[in-house]
Amino acid sequence: MRILRLLGVGWLYHMKMISRSPFEGFGQVIYPLFFATVAFFVFRAGDSPRTLLYASLGAAVMGMWSATSTTAGAAMQRERWHGTLELLVGTPPHFALVLLPVTLAMATVGIYSLGATLLYGHFLFGIPLTIEHPLLFAAAILGTVLSFGALGFVFAVTFVRFRAAWALGNLFEYPVWLIGGFLVPLALFPDWVRPISWALAPTWGMNAIRQAALGGSSLDDLLACAGLGALYVGLGILLTERVLRSARVRASLSLS
């Protein structure tokens, strides 16, 4: 109970901070518009409502991923600039419990990004929003957002130790758009890319969302996505103590 409240309060205050940032707010308005436009112009040649929805969903998850991968690094960088990283590390809870709400807040912004992209696509370009299995669709979004948060958490753990790791978050942004199959089907890529795709929760989350929306079976994909998310959280927790000890040895916590 105490842990849940700690996660909830942390999530609430980090959401408050994100919502009050003019820079991040502006990005959240512009990015979904950009992604929806790209999806429409890339796929309109197909001229099929299902293809357009397929593309629109891909664009929506692109926005969700961008909101998580790039901002997890930025969030840690912000903690360094504000001098609050040391304060957080100096509190009694396991640091994973302090860090998880930060990345979950980022992933929540991703849900907004997903919704905004779909709505922009619908109202500006007339992309249909017919969801075949609404409940499974909602579950797929929730599972995907949590797994994104979990992956952002692993990133954030490394950002605590390595100051320059925020740039790595940016580096991951575009390749995952491709190898996660967000816009282009995975079948178009060489065989050696596939194992990498399978190790990424976003790939399975994307599949689950598409299957639920377009009428396929999304449960297996959703389970794979959730399983990988849980694996990321476990890995992050294992890494946290080692990373923090290393940061305390190298005196890198106070550096900005």
Binding site: R2, L6, V9, Y13, T84, T91, P92, V98, R245
Partner: protein
């Protein structure tokens, strides 16, 4: 058992120089610091910038791992039992950083109350009490980005006290505050010792340490160079007199020669704007002005004056001694 025990603490930082040919440079920030702080005591760590005060305090609050030596707080080892130490201590850093600017003062405190495990039912009351204590009542719902430096500093103090810790570490808490704000904060610190808290205060203001601390350790270049009550430290300088000479470019060899003069107790040089001020503390029964000026032959000499020694002289002499 002492509440805080530091045993031969060392801390070395590794830094890099150069871009293409990167070289590792090691800096010894703390070189064997030992002290004990008893329950209810306000212990001052006094020293100039870069003396090793913050590094020492960061080792004690578990944010840095000592390169060598050990430290215990309330019986818990700061490396092995870091979480147990964190539950029982509060700390306050000086300066404006360490505040979530986009949150209100109240939200900052609420978040840290949760992190420090203050029970939900008690949080509101505790935060209200602390806002009253630090004088932020009425401004708590404004975003912290609009707070003055002094208000942010007081918010730091409130944050450090949220979980009613037994031991408090205050790292230059009055730095950058205006005189009135600093005086109010010192009054708050004094009231905390009255409430039975054990406090380690770092400062580079002699008068602050003198006014607040039961005991003071003077730290310079990573070593403790003197330790005692303010009275004991003052007794080092109660006799003798200080000759101050305004000079422009006094060589180190001259300072060394002056130190060796019969009757000289301490010599130090301070930079003041364009000039340097050479201070020579001598025994009261000896008049050395002519000898001092004789050694300065060749240097540009300005005003010469004599005065009684102060506690600050003891501090400056300690921290500038080679």
């Amino acid at each position: 058992m002492a509440v805080v025990e530091a045993q031969d603490l060392h801390r070395t930082y590794r830094t890099h120089t150069g871009t293409l040919r990167r070289r590792v440079k090691e800096i010894e920030a703390v070189r064997g610091v030992s002290f004990d702080i008893e329950k209810g005591e306000l212990f001052g760590l006094l020293g100039p910038n870069g003396a090793g005060k913050t590094t020492t305090i960061k080792m004690l609050i578990t944010l840095l791992i000592p390169t060598a030596g050990s430290a215990r707080v309330l019986g818990y080892d700061v490396v092995k039992d870091a979480r147990e130490v964190r539950k029982r201590i509060g700390y306050v850093f000086g300066g404006e950083r360490g505040v979530y600017e986009r949150l209100s003062g109240y939200d900052n405190l609420r978040y840290f109350a949760e992190l420090y495990g203050v029970p939900g039912k008690m949080q509101k009351q505790r935060i209200e009490e602390l806002l009253e204590l630090v004088g932020l009542k009425g401004r708590e719902h404004e975003r912290a980005e609009g707070y003055s430096r002094g208000m942010k500093q007081r918010l730091h103090v409130a944050r450090g006290l949220l979980h009613d810790p037994e031991v408090l570490f205050l790292d230059e808490p009055t730095i950058g505050l205006d005189p009135v704000g600093a005086r109010e904060l010192r009054a708050t610190i004094a009231s905390l010792t009255d409430a039975g808290k054990t406090i380690l205060l770092t400062t580079h203001y002699m008068f602050e340490a003198d006014a607040l601390c039961d005991r003071i350790a003077v730290i310079s270049k990573g070593n403790i160079v003197a330790e005692g009550t303010p009275r004991q430290l003052k007794s080092r300088v109660e006799s003798g007199s200080v000759t101050e000479v305004e000079v422009y470019g006094v060589p180190d060899e001259t300072v060394e020669r002056l130190r060796k003069l019969e009757g000289v107790l301490a010599v130090w040089v301070e930079e003041r704007e364009q000039a340097q001020v050479l201070s020579v503390q001598t025994r009261a029964d000896i008049q050395l002005t002519a000898a001092i000026l004789g050694h300065l032959n060749g240097a540009n000499v300005g005003r010469v004056s004599h005065r009684e020694p102060t506690l600050e002289d003891a501090y400056v002499a300690l921290v500038t001694a080679e």
